[in-house]
């Protein structure tokens, strides 16, 4: 059983090693692509096992829980692993077109595969300290990927990204230390009962707030998001797409895991804070986006705004809201990575990402325009695309709780999202090019454009499929939410399983 859980982590790691050895050969990029395909296969096998059994767990090195390190996958973990593999594959294809050879020779694919392994590990681990280790694997890979290729902008962005993320990691690490001191365990399933039985519930709440801040920085919630718009517009587009899709979502996942499994003793306090944090995140993100005129900066602020919806799903803490949160998480990764891909291709055509300096893309690249409209309208929540269902579930959950203000802000932010998306549409696609030329990718060979448009089309197709045929996805999210709210199955599987 355990290999099912290990493979989605081991495959990208092995790929990273091989890709590093072959980094200056043309074969390196194909090794990375093959590794991403295999990761997707391994994730699909994991998903099949989870669909079959509900929750699966494995004890590493045959040390029984709670003493050893446990890998565990419930519905939420499984879907996150699959979506990570899909994003990884899309990025691996896109990178074939975008990443120049000199960057490949620096070990780009090795770093990229390590990042995927780190993200997958964070989704699968059932051990708090192990979660910290996976965060660090992910962080060191992301640091290097952010500054790879050099340039003043990337170095400047790198400094800010590294500094703030390291501080948040240390807060998280101190929280682990204190929580271990109170409960005497690091296993998440074991910790649930230990936290509930702890004498000093006040101290538990303090530790919960440390985790909220630590993960909040990773997830880029208000008021801890400042590293994100300072850095996400500088790296290669393939990198910013995978960052935008996955990295902040690891923070959201960790929040969802900790605040449904462990910190549920004082929901009235912790989750009330989360509601306000979510609302402010949604609103400040979308207002920040409205002030920007750069393709990627607008998208970066929209990540923040959308993160608010996901944490709101957690904060409302009803089955419907969590279901909406999980659905939103999955939908958002697909859509947001895709929009960054589109931004990269738009730059190939028009030569810039500053909306004031580009235009005319609708005339010269109608296919790209069509492929932009799908994720953009999905992000804004137009029916029948995936974003509509995600927003619908969250708003409905807020309405059921009679939280009118929350509902109002959710809908208002959706409206303002449309404003930003139509701004990109109007300035990049409809407006004639300011230089009076028809933008064409004359600098890039057709192979490059093809490698970049395939993942965009693939992810757009997924958005449409989820939009027109949401039933199985909604049902899946419902089961995931049920498992989150009642983790008995999770706990017994982890603590009872024999290696």
């Amino acid at each position: 059983m355990s290999w099912v859980l290990v493979m989605p982590i081991a495959v990208p790691f092995l790929t990273a090693v091989v890709a590093f050895l072959a980094r200056s050969l043309p074969a390196g990029r194909w090794i990375s692509l093959a590794g991403s395909v295999l990761t997707l296969v391994a994730s699909a096998v994991l998903m099949a096992a989870v669909l079959d059994e509900g929750v699966i767990a494995a004890q590493m090195s045959n040390w029984d829980a709670p003493f050893g390190i446990t890998l565990v996958a419930d519905y939420l973990s499984a879907v996150m692993v699959v979506i990570t593999a899909i994003t990884g594959l899309a990025t691996a294809i896109y990178a074939l077109g975008e990443i120049p050879e000199e960057t490949e020779a620096l070990g780009f694919y090795a770093l990229f595969q390590t990042l995927i392994a780190g993200v997958t590990g964070a989704f699968l681990t059932g051990d708090l300290f192990n979660l910290y280790v996976w965060f660090e694997v992910m962080l060191i890979a992301s640091f290097s990927l952010l500054v790879i290729g050099g340039g003043k902008e990337r170095l400047d962005a790198g400094i800010k990204y590294v500094a703030l993320n390291l501080v948040s990691t240390l807060i998280f690490l101190s929280g682990i230390g204190l929580l271990y001191g109170v409960t005497g365990t690091l296993n998440l399933a074991d910790m649930r009962d230990a936290v509930a039985e702890a004498e000093n519930q006040g101290l538990i709440t303090v530790i919960a707030m440390m985790f909220m801040v630590g993960f909040g920085v990773k997830a880029a919630v208000f008021p801890l998001f400042f590293w994100l718009p300072a850095s996400y517009h500088t790296p290669y587009f393939a990198i910013s797409a995978v960052f935008a899709g996955l990295l902040t979502k690891v923070g959201v996942y960790a929040l969802m895991r900790m605040f449904t499994l462990v910190f549920v003793g004082d929901v009235g306090f912790t989750h009330e804070i989360l509601i306000w944090v979510s609302l402010l995140t949604m609103f400040t993100g979308v207002i920040g986006a409205a002030a920007q005129t750069d393709f990627r900066k607008i998208l970066s602020f929209h990540i923040i705004s959308q993160i608010g919806y996901m944490t709101l799903g957690l904060a409302l803490f009803t089955p419907l809201a969590l279901m909406g949160g999980v659905f939103y998480l999955v939908h958002h990764i697909i859509v947001k990575a895709n929009l960054f891909f589109v931004a990269g291709l738009a730059k190939q055509y028009a030569g810039d990402t500053d909306l004031n300096r580009i235009g005319g893309l609708y005339k010269s690249a109608p296919l790209l325009a069509a492929l932009f409209i799908i994720p953009a309208f999905s992000l804004a929540g137009f029916p029948p695309l995936s974003g509509f269902w995600a927003k619908y579930l969250i708003v409905k959950a807020a309405l059921e709780l009679n939280m009118w203000f929350v509902t109002f802000v959710s809908l208002l932010v959706g409206l303002l999202t449309i404003y930003s998306m139509t701004k990109i549409w109007g300035m990049a696609f409809w407006k004639p090019h300011p230089d009076g030329i028809d933008p064409t990718p004359d600098r890039a060979p057709a192979r490059v454009t093809a490698a970049m448009i395939v993942p965009i089309a693939g992810l757009a197709l997924m958005t449409i499929i989820i939009g027109f045929y949401p039933e199985p996805f909604v049902q899946f999210a419902e089961t995931a939410a049920t498992q989150l709210l009642d983790p008995t199955d999770y706990v017994t599987t982890v603590l009872g399983v024999q290696p």
């Binding site: 280790v133 640091f143 003043k152 170095l155 230390g177 204190l178």
Partner: protein, 121 residues
Amino acid sequence: MEALTAIVIGALTAAAVYLMLARNFMRFLFGLVLLSNAANLTIFASGRMTKGAPALVPYGEDAPLGVVGNALPQALVLTAIVIGFGLLAFTLALAFEAYRRLRSVDTDEMRYAEPKEEATK
């Protein structure tokens, strides 16, 4: 012993915050080192500071005999130190490269990835 450690952790954190509030990125880095050590000490102290023998299992036994120290926090701290060391090495290299290219360690002057001044007004 715990009280003394707690005071040390508090002092380290205070010094770290003071250093990190500086505009000079090197001071920020030194603050990060101190904060990292404060976090490590927190984990170490959480394992309870008791006088005990090393947690070694004698030959032929299944478990250690008598009272032994808690080995887990030491393993955790060791892992955290190694990871922190790697990250610090990376960050130092990054800071050096940034200094070489941007000719400054003053974070107020590092605005290459930020909006231009006239655009913000």
